[in-house]
C-alpha cells in the first residue's frame, strides 16, 4: 500500500538546497510524481542488472550501476 506523498518533506528538501527558490501551489505533487518515476526507472534498471547477473535478489552492486545510469539520464 502506497502512502501519501510527503509534501512538506519535499518542500523542505528543495528549500534546503535552494532557499531562495519558491514553489507554486501543487508543484510538490509533480515533484513527487517525478520522484516516483525516477525510482521506477531505477528499480527497472536494477532488476535488469540483477537478471543479467542471474541473481534472485537485488544486490548493492546492481543498484549502484543502475544509479549511475539513471542519474545521468534524469539530469535534464
Amino acid at each position: 500500500m502506497k502512502r501519501t506523498a510527503p509534501r512538506s518533506t519535499l518542500r523542505k528538501i528543495i528549500k534546503k538546497h535552494k532557499p531562495q527558490l519558491r514553489l507554486a501551489a501543487n508543484t510538490d505533487l509533480l515533484v513527487h510524481l517525478n520522484f516516483l518515476l525516477f525510482l521506477h526507472r531505477l528499480a527497472e534498471e536494477a532488476r535488469t542488472n540483477a537478471f543479467a547477473n542471474k541473481s534472485k535478489i537485488i544486490k548493492p552492486e546492481h543498484t549502484i550501476a543502475a544509479a549511475k545510469v539513471i542519474l545521468k539520464k534524469s539530469r535534464g
Binding site: 502506497k2 502512502r3 501519501t4 506523498a5 510527503p6 518533506t9 519535499l10 523542505k12 528538501i13 528543495i14 528549500k15 534546503k16 538546497h17 535552494k18 531562495q20 527558490l21 519558491r22 514553489l23 507554486a24 501543487n26 508543484t27 505533487l29 509533480l30 515533484v31 513527487h32 510524481l33 517525478n34 520522484f35 516516483l36 518515476l37 525516477f38 525510482l39 521506477h40 531505477l42 528499480a43 527497472e44 536494477a46 532488476r47 540483477a50 534472485k56 535478489i57 537485488i58 544486490k59 548493492p60 546492481h62 543498484t63 549502484i64 544509479a67 539513471i70 542519474l71 539520464k73 534524469s74 539530469r75 535534464g76
Partner: protein, 668 residues
C-alpha cells in the same frame, strides 16, 4: 353429552365463559341425562319414524307450533326439519334454552339443535359451538342472570320435568359449585406455576468486592511478571501487597533516571555473580532494589522463562541460605562474557555482556518475588536503595570522568584510570580481569590526543556498522547527533543490564559501567565539544529515554535537521517497483541516490524558473523537466502520467476538470 360438554370447554377461553359453560355443561349433564332418557327414545325412534318425535315434542315445543306431523306421509326432509325444530326442547341443552332465549333477544335466532338423536349428531356438534359462542357472550356479561334464567327455563319445564327440575336445581347447584371450584383451581394452579421464584438479591458487599478486585489485579500482575504461576498464586497477602506496591509504584516499562545509578551498580553486580559472600551481600542489596523497580523491566527483557532456574538460585543467594548454588550461576556469566569477547569487537563485548547480565538479573529479580521473600526483601530494598543510590552516584561520576577522559583531558584520564584500578582490587576474579582487559584496551587510545579522536571516529563507524539503524556513516555533521544517541544507547543499555543483575555486588558496577562509559565516550570524543557539556547532555538524554527510544531518536533528529524523504517510504516504493527481494544495503544506496536526485532536481528547477524570469517554480517548469528527462513525450502526456502514478486526490488537484455550470475544478 360428553362430547358436547367437551365442546363447550374447548370452545370457550375465558373463565367466565368456562364457568358458565361448566355450569351449563353440568346442568346439561344433569338435565340431559334425564331428559334424554325420557326423550331420547322417542328421538331415536324418530329416526325410524317421525311419529315419536311429534309425540315427545309437542308439549315441549315453545318456539314454533308445529303443524300436525303427518308421520305416515312425511318425507325424510320434513322429518328432519321437525327434528331440527324440536331438538332444543328435548336435548340436554335444556338450561341453554333459557339462555338461548335470552341470547336470541340480543342476537338473531340461532339454530337450536339438540344432540339427542344419533342421526343428528352433526347438527348438535354445530349447535354446541354456536350456543357456546352465544353463551360465551352471554356469560361474560351476565353471569348472574344465567342462573336465574336457567331457573326460569327450568321452571317452565316443571310440568314436564318437575322432578327433574328440582333435581336439576339441587344437582345443578352442586355441579355448579363443583365446576366452578374445579375451574378456579386449575387457573390458580396454573398461575402459581407461572410464578417465578422470588429473586434473592444479596446486598452487595463492597469490601468483599474491592478485595476481590485487588486480588484479581495482583494475581494477574503476578502471572505476568512472575515466572512460577503456582508460586505466585501461593504467595501470601503480604507478598501480594508488596508486589502491588512494587508494581503499582512503578508502571514504567523502561529505565528511569533514578534507576540508572542503580543500574550502573547492578551491572557491576551482575558481572560478579560468581563472587563470594561479600559480593553476595551487595548483590542482595542491588537485587532487592531491582526487585522494587524493574518489575516493569522484566517484561521488556522478556527472558523470564529461560531463567527460572537461575533465578531460583539467585533468590537463594540473596537469602544467604544457599550460597553453594551461586557457583552454578557464576559459570554462566563468565561463559557469556567469554563467548561475547570472541565473537564481537571490544566495544560490543561489554555491551552484550551487559545485556546478558541484565537479563539474568531481571530474571533473578522476578524469581525473588516468586519465592515470596517479600518482607525480607523489603528491608533489604530500603537498605539497598540507599546504598545503591550512593554507588550509582559514584558510578555516574565515574562515567562522566570516563567521558571527559576521551576528550583528551589528561587529569581526568589519570583519575579515571586510577579509579578503575581501585575497583579492580575490589572486584572479583574473572569478570574483573576481563573488565580490566577491556578497560586497559580502551584506555590506551585515550592517552594519545589526536589518535583518540580518530579511534573514536573509527569506533563510531564500527558502531554504525554494528548497529544497523544508523544511516550514512560518512556524514560527519551527523556525528554530533550520532554520538549523543550512541552514548544514550549505551547508557540506556547499561541501565537495562543493571536491572537484570540482581546478585551482583555493588562494587562490580562501577567496573562494568566504566567499559560501557568508555565505549559510549569514545564516539562522543569524535566531536570535540566541551567534555562536561557532552557528558551531562548524554546523561540527561539517556535518562528520560527508554532503551528503544535511542534507536528512534537518531533518525527522527536527522529528519528535522536535514529534511529527507523517509527511508520507509523509499523502501516501500522501490520494493514495489522492483518486484524482487532487495538486499538491505541496496536500500541505502537507493536513499543516497535519491538525495542526489533531489539536488539535481532543485538545480534544474531553479534554472528553468530563472530562464522564464520567475522566482517560483510552476507546473510548466516541472513539465519541461520531465520532458527533458524523457518521461513526458508526445506519446505520453503529463496528464496520463499523473493519472497513472498519483492517487486520485492528487489527480483532482492537478488536472482541471470541467463540471456543469461552466465550472472548472480546480479553478485555473
Amino acid at each position: 353429552m360428553l362430547p358436547f360438554i367437551s365442546f363447550i370447554f374447548t370452545s370457550s377461553s375465558a373463565m367466565m365463559s368456562r364457568c358458565s359453560f361448566s355450569f351449563l355443561s353440568s346442568s346439561s349433564d344433569v338435565v340431559p341425562d334425564d331428559s334424554e332418557y325420557e326423550c331420547g327414545d322417542p328421538h331415536q325412534t324418530v329416526a325410524d319414524s317421525g311419529k315419536g318425535n311429534n309425540s315427545g315434542r309437542s308439549t315441549l315445543l315453545k318456539q314454533r307450533p308445529t303443524a300436525c306431523p303427518d308421520h305416515g306421509n312425511d318425507t325424510p326432509r320434513l322429518m328432519l326439519k321437525r327434528i331440527i325444530r324440536t331438538q332444543p326442547q328435548v336435548s340436554p341443552l335444556v338450561p341453554q334454552i333459557s339462555q338461548h332465549e335470552a341470547a336470541e333477544e340480543a342476537q338473531p335466532e340461532l339454530p337450536s339443535k339438540r344432540p339427542s338423536s344419533m342421526g343428528e349428531l352433526q347438527l348438535p356438534n354445530l349447535v354446541p359451538e354456536s350456543t357456546s359462542v352465544a353463551t360465551f357472550h352471554m356469560t361474560k356479561k351476565r353471569k348472574k342472570l344465567s342462573i336465574s334464567e336457567f331457573e326460569r327455563a327450568a321452571d317452565r319445564r316443571l310440568p314436564q320435568n318437575q322432578a327433574q327440575s328440582t333435581l336439576d336445581n339441587t344437582i345443578l347447584a352442586r355441579s355448579l359449585r363443583m365446576s366452578l371450584g374445579s375451574l378456579v383451581l386449575p387457573d390458580s394452579v396454573e398461575k402459581r406455576g407461572l410464578l417465578r421464584r422470588p429473586k434473592n438479591h444479596k446486598p452487595i458487599d463492597m469490601e468483599a468486592f474491592e478485595g476481590g478486585v485487588e486480588q484479581n489485579m495482583l494475581n494477574r500482575k503476578a502471572e505476568n511478571y512472575l515466572v512460577d504461576s503456582p508460586t505466585a498464586s501461593g504467595i501470601g497477602t503480604a507478598m501480594q501487597t508488596s508486589d502491588a506496591e512494587i508494581m503499582l509504584s512503578n508502571t514504567e516499562l523502561f529505565v528511569q533516571p533514578q534507576f540508572e545509578q542503580n543500574q550502573n551498580k547492578l551491572s557491576a553486580l551482575e558481572l560478579q555473580l560468581s563472587n563470594s559472600k561479600t559480593s553476595a551481600q551487595r548483590s542482595e542489596i542491588s537485587a532487592a532494589q531491582e526487585e522494587a523497580r524493574p518489575v516493569g523491566l522484566v517484561s521488556s527483557v522478556g527472558t523470564n522463562e529461560g531463567r527460572t532456574e537461575e533465578y531460583s538460585e539467585k533468590d537463594l543467594i540473596l537469602d544467604r541460605v544457599h550460597v553453594d548454588r551461586t557457583t552454578h550461576v557464576s559459570p554462566k556469566p563468565p561463559a557469556n562474557q567469554q563467548e561475547d569477547k570472541q565473537d564481537h569487537s571490544q566495544q560490543s563485548n561489554p555491551m552484550e555482556q551487559l545485556f546478558d547480565s541484565e537479563e539474568v538479573v531481571v530474571g533473578a529479580a522476578e524469581h525473588l518475588e516468586n519465592t515470596g521473600y517479600s518482607e525480607h526483601l523489603k528491608k533489604k530494598l530500603t537498605e539497598k536503595a540507599e546504598s545503591q543510590i550512593t554507588t550509582a552516584q559514584d558510578a555516574r561520576v565515574e562515567t562522566e570522568m570516563a567521558l571527559s577522559e576521551d576528550d583528551g583531558i589528561a587529569e581526568g584520564s589519570v583519575g579515571h584510570q586510577g579509579s578503575p584500578e581501585a575497583e579492580h582490587d575490589i572486584t572479583r576474579d574473572v569478570e574483573a580481569e576481563s573488565l580490566g582487559r577491556h578497560f586497559h584496551a580502551i584506555s590506551s587510545p585515550e592517552k594519545s590526543g589526536m589518535k583518540l579522536l580518530k579511534a573514536a571516529v573509527e569506533q563510531a563507524d564500527e558502531d554504525q556498522a554494528v548497529m544497523a539503524e544508523w544511516d550514512d556513516p560518512e556524514k560527519e555533521p551527523t556525528e554530533d547527533e550520532a554520538e549523543d544517541p550512541e552514548s544514550e544507547e549505551v547508557s540506556m543499555k547499561t541501565p537495562v543490564f543493571v536491572h537484570a543483575a540482581a546478585d551482583k555486588p555493588v562494587l562490580s558496577i562501577p567496573c562494568s559501567a566504566k567499559p560501557a562509559a568508555l565505549k559510549g565516550a569514545t564516539p562522543c570524543s569524535a566531536k570535540p565539544a566541551t567534555p562536561k557539556g557532552t557528558t551531562p547532555r548524554s546523561a540527561k538524554c539517556a535518562a528520560p529515554k527508554s532503551p528503544l527510544q535511542p534507536l528512534r531518536a537518531k533518525p527522527v533528529r536527522r529528519k528535522t535537521s536535514e529534511a529527507e524523504v523517509s527511508s520507509s517510504l523509499i523502501k516501500q516504493i522501490f520494493s514495489h517497483y522492483v518486484k524482487m527481494p532487495v538486499a538491505r544495503d541496496a536500500y541505502k544506496i537507493v536513499e543516497k541516490c535519491s538525495q542526489r536526485y533531489f539536488k539535481q532536481l532543485s538545480d534544474d528547477l531553479e534554472v528553468y524558473s530563472s530562464h522564464a524570469g520567475r522566482k517560483t517554480v510552476e507546473m510548466a517548469d516541472l513539465e519541461i523537466l520531465m520532458r527533458r528527462q524523457g518521461l513526458v513525450t508526445d506519446k505520453m502526456p503529463l496528464h496520463v502520467l499523473i493519472e497513472r502514478y498519483l492517487p486520485l486526490e492528487y489527480r483532482k488537484l492537478l488536472i482541471p476538470v470541467a463540471v456543469s455550470g461552466n465550472k472548472v475544478i480546480p479553478c485555473k
